[in-house]
Symmetry: C2
Subunit: 337 residues, 2 copies
DNA sequence: TGGATGTATGGGAGCGCTCTTACAACGTTG
DNA sequence: CAACGTTGTAAGAGCGCTCCCATACATCCA
């Protein structure tokens, strides 16, 4: 099309007005003669003008983008295979698009990468950060805070700090699972926890254990997993060795629950007849699993959208007290328990 | 930290040099006295200076970001649940991060959204576009081309146009599946195709059918699916009605293959003993499925990385003839066939 | 009628950076 | 020793935009 993009100046010349007037028409359109507006609009049409967002950003100090930072502790970029992050992304994108804000995706899985994220934001390349950080020891929240970057977390920070976040009542989720299993008349109940250095895992486990204790089961056989299918299968094997007569398993996410079901089936055990299985999250694998998983729903998309909402609010009027929003889990009964 | 960010000017004042010198140190560092460099570096340290990327972009005409556009025809943002897009994202992010380029995520699932994408790029908010477009009728490639936006596609465009892309030899993939099934001694072979308005689906199907014909099977019972689990299950049901004695199914992606397996199992058929199933993609569901899926591998991550590579090359030296790279599929034999 | 108020427009500074140009200081060469 | 690079630095224009301020004119009430 055009070799060199037309500028405000060009439009102004064509319309026979000043740059300022064109700018007014392009933006707020306040106090411009309707007739002149028409002229300017024609000139814009004629020249094929598109405002240069970068130039605008330079003076407004706003880019219209936010960083969506996946601070996965672990192994590189296969985080995107995890349905959880896909759901977060979906929720964020879906919310932001309605506000003409665009997320730029960043992975913060190494110290180098984290520094790059902080730099990126300090340089004003994005207006703020949405931080999906699972590790309580993650230094990124504190560093962003220190750098004065408006940020909101998914999951509460490892130690208290004045930063907004969305989270879920994971303990309540654990309780829901225990209640359901006990109410179903199960007696030998075990659990596959998530990685214990993740707060969400600790909470789900604590909630589950507490409820079990209240139901008269002071000890719950536990195998720690890593939120992946493989780790879930391995944990299930350990559990089966420790207590071959178990009749129920609560897994801290669906991926592990699905793997657990597979292992049980391979051992000739029927699900849910012989062993009931409850998952967590209510993500795609819960439905793909046979039998379909009874699970604890985490409204990831809504939470992600809320996180984005909090950030935009903070950008809108900075310096507010950071807010947090906690979501309630929900038991979803399907075939596996 | 700092209320107002220090600028080049501030650093220059502290170091007692000119802005230009500081700029040289920050960037190319050509022709600056080592001693002075040291002084400047100290000044940078002292002031906590970070270059303002926006200001830099304004003059260099480069933002260091590219748009990753998911031009899903269909239903909004649940595309991120599809493992395919997760893999694309992973491949892109992984490649770009090594080049200090960041992807901004955009969904182009409506005409409005498409216009916004074009605007975004015309405004110079990103240096180029990575377009994951499945629909041959998608107007976006042509519009980006027309707008002069450097772009690379995932999957060849619906009609020939001078734009680079990566793709796979889907026909060869279909052939691989047919060969494998026939070699395994299957006789009543059916297939669940992808949506027929998608080129990849057409190609996979054509390759499969051609190979089948060459093997002496001129007619292949076909049910069209939509690449989703539900559509796969529905297609499997139809196939079972049409030819109850089938002994093999080739599904055009793993999601549908997995669903097909479930339906077969529900019907009391054993996989692979009674019915062999071959999937396509080799994505997460292929491994999660029981039995694990024999499938045709599409190296999505590598393709996505290649796509990003092509775009960066085009940005590096514009005006080159657009390039395309075709990847070969690979048969992955597991338990299901 | 005159000052006060309000509305529409233009002029121009300035956002923070890069990059070209000019120039000073230093060799190096025929 | 004049003429010529070579190298290191400063000065300043300019990227395209927003926004403040000045100006011009219309409108109003006392």
């Amino acid at each position: 099309m055009s070799r060199v993009a037309p500028t405000l100046e060009d439009v102004a010349r064509v319309a026979g007005v000043s740059r300022a007037t064109v700018s007014r028409v392009v933006n707020g359109t306040r106090n411009v003669d309707p007739e002149l507006q028409e002229t300017v609009r024609n000139a814009i049409e004629q020249t094929g003008y598109t405002p240069n967002r970068v130039a605008r950003s330079l003076v407004t100090r706003r880019t219209g983008t936010v960083a969506l930072v996946i601070s996965g502790a672990g192994g590189g970029s296969d985080v995107f295979t995890d349905p959880f992050f896909g759901r977060v992304t979906a929720g964020v994108v879906d919310f932001l698009r309605g506000h003409s804000v665009h997320p730029v995706l960043m992975l913060a899985d190494s110290d180098h990468a984290r520094t790059e994220v902080v730099e990126f934001l300090r340089q004003g390349s994005a207006d703020g950060a949405l931080l999906v950080s699972t590790h309580p020891a993650d230094p990124l929240p504190a560093r962003l805070l220190e750098a004065g970057v408006p940020s909101v977390l998914y999951a509460r920070p490892g130690r208290p700090m004045p930063i907004g976040y969305v989270d879920m009542d994971h303990r309540a989720g654990g309780r829901l699972a225990a209640d359901h299993l006990v109410a179903a008349g199960r007696y030998n109940i075990a659990t596959i926890s998530g990685p214990m250095d993740v707060l969400a895992s600790q909470d789900r486990h604590a909630g589950f254990r507490d409820a079990m204790a209240r139901h008269g089961f002071p000890y719950v056989p536990t195998a720690e997993g890593g939120f992946t299918a493989e780790s879930g299968a391995a944990a299930m094997h350990r559990l089966l060795t420790e207590c071959p007569d178990l009749d129920a398993v609560f897994a801290a996410n669906d991926l592990m629950a699905q793997a657990a079901v597979d292992v049980l089936l391979e051992h000739g055990l029927r699900v849910p007849e012989d062993v009931a299985v409850v998952g967590f999250d209510d993500s795609a694998p819960a439905l793909a699993c046979r039998p379909q998983l009874t699970t604890i729903r985490q409204p990831v998309e809504r939470m992600a959208a809320q996180m984005a909402d909090l950030l935009l609010a903070e950008l809108e009027k900075p310096g507010q007290r950071p807010r947090s929003v906690i979501f309630e889990p929900e038991l979803v009964v399907r075939a596996s328990a």
